[in-house]
């Protein structure tokens, strides 16, 4: 079975995020008020072959631990869904 995966890699709370801060500072001047807490992370999408959802999730979790995030500063949010056949 194939699974569609979305991994969000984001900076841990408390870790400074210069791109997010810069974006946030730029917004009011462009007419976008009322925006706060801007954080810029990565969105990694992929297709994973696995026998079931649990296996797919385990695989992705291992990838996150070993490669996709640097645990010193980052954490991940994993989303795994069975791929729609038509795709």
């Amino acid at each position: 079975m194939t699974f569609d995966v979305l991994v969000e890699v984001r900076l841990k709370q408390g870790v400074a995020d210069p791109p997010g801060a810069t974006l946030e500072r730029a917004l009011p001047a462009l007419g976008f008020g009322g925006v706060s807490g801007v954080r810029v992370g990565k969105a990694i999408r992929m297709s994973v072959d696995a026998t079931d959802q649990a296996e797919a999730e385990a695989l992705v979790a291992a990838m996150c631990d070993r490669l996709l995030a640097n645990p010193v500063i980052e954490e991940t949010v994993i989303n795994v869904a069975e791929a729609v056949a038509a795709q």
């Binding site: 870790v15 400074a16 210069p18 791109p19 810069t22 490669l67 640097n70 010193v72």
Partner: protein, 222 residues
């Protein structure tokens, strides 16, 4: 004496400062040899340098993929044996990713790549990079990075300070580095990472020879 020391300069696909490192080390009398990242041994090297560049493209995160290169196990063993390992710029990033040095390197505070010459201050002389250099010595050395903003958790930082493992600090912090850190070392002082490029400051014709001071210390420890 640095004469005759054998240095392995590791080449990842995407490294680009390897020839520069060789040139600077040989200028100081060492013999430097390129070691491709697929090698599993470092030959009979007395010291190892991980040079600057963009190993494996550095797209995901600097050093994220490089740390899995076969040669890195040999580097880790070499380091564990107390032998001198120096990571310059991308090499520093790889050493942190590989867990041979603590912390991480984030994007520069200004969100711009920075290629310029900065003033550094020797903050500790307990590592192989600065042994014999008086604390407080100022050195003029180029930086060249986008992700050189050092960060770590407060406990680690306190530890670095207490154990005198902050090797070099920027006089004028160019990138937002925690504590103006330009370079750090491991507990043994034999593994050092720094963002500035000492190999770019080894020739008066290029503007500064201050890098020789650091590289000579490193070679003498080998």
């Amino acid at each position: 004496m640095s004469q005759g020391r054998r240095v392995a300069v590791v080449v990842f696909p995407g490294s680009n400062c390897e020839h520069d490192a060789v040139e600077a080390l040989e200028r100081l009398g060492a013999t430097a040899e390129l070691v491709f990242h697929r090698e599993t041994t470092l030959g009979n090297a007395d010291a190892v340098v991980l040079p600057g560049g963009f190993a494996h493209g550095d797209y995901l995160r600097p050093g994220a993929i490089a740390r899995f290169s076969p040669v890195m196990s040999a580097v880790a063993e070499f380091a564990a044996a107390g032998r001198p390992v120096l990571g310059i710029c991308n090499g520093f990033q790889i050493l942190t990713e590989a867990g041979l040095l603590p912390g991480a390197l984030q994007k520069n505070q200004g969100l711009k790549f920075l290629c310029t010459t900065v003033e550094l201050e020797v903050a500790s002389n307990t590592s192989v990079l600065c042994s014999g250099i008086s604390i407080g010595t100022r050195l003029s050395i180029p930086i060249n990075h986008f992700e050189g903003n050092y960060t770590c958790d407060p406990v680690t930082y306190d530890q670095l300070v207490l154990e005198e493992r902050i090797v070099l600090r920027y006089v004028d912090n160019p990138n937002g580095s925690l504590g103006s850190i330009a370079g750090i070392c491991n507990e043994g002082g034999n593994v050092v990472g720094l963002m500035p490029h000492p190999e770019r400051a080894c020739d008066q014709l290029l503007g500064s020879e201050d890098g020789c001071v650091l590289l000579r210390s490193f070679l003498e420890a080998a």
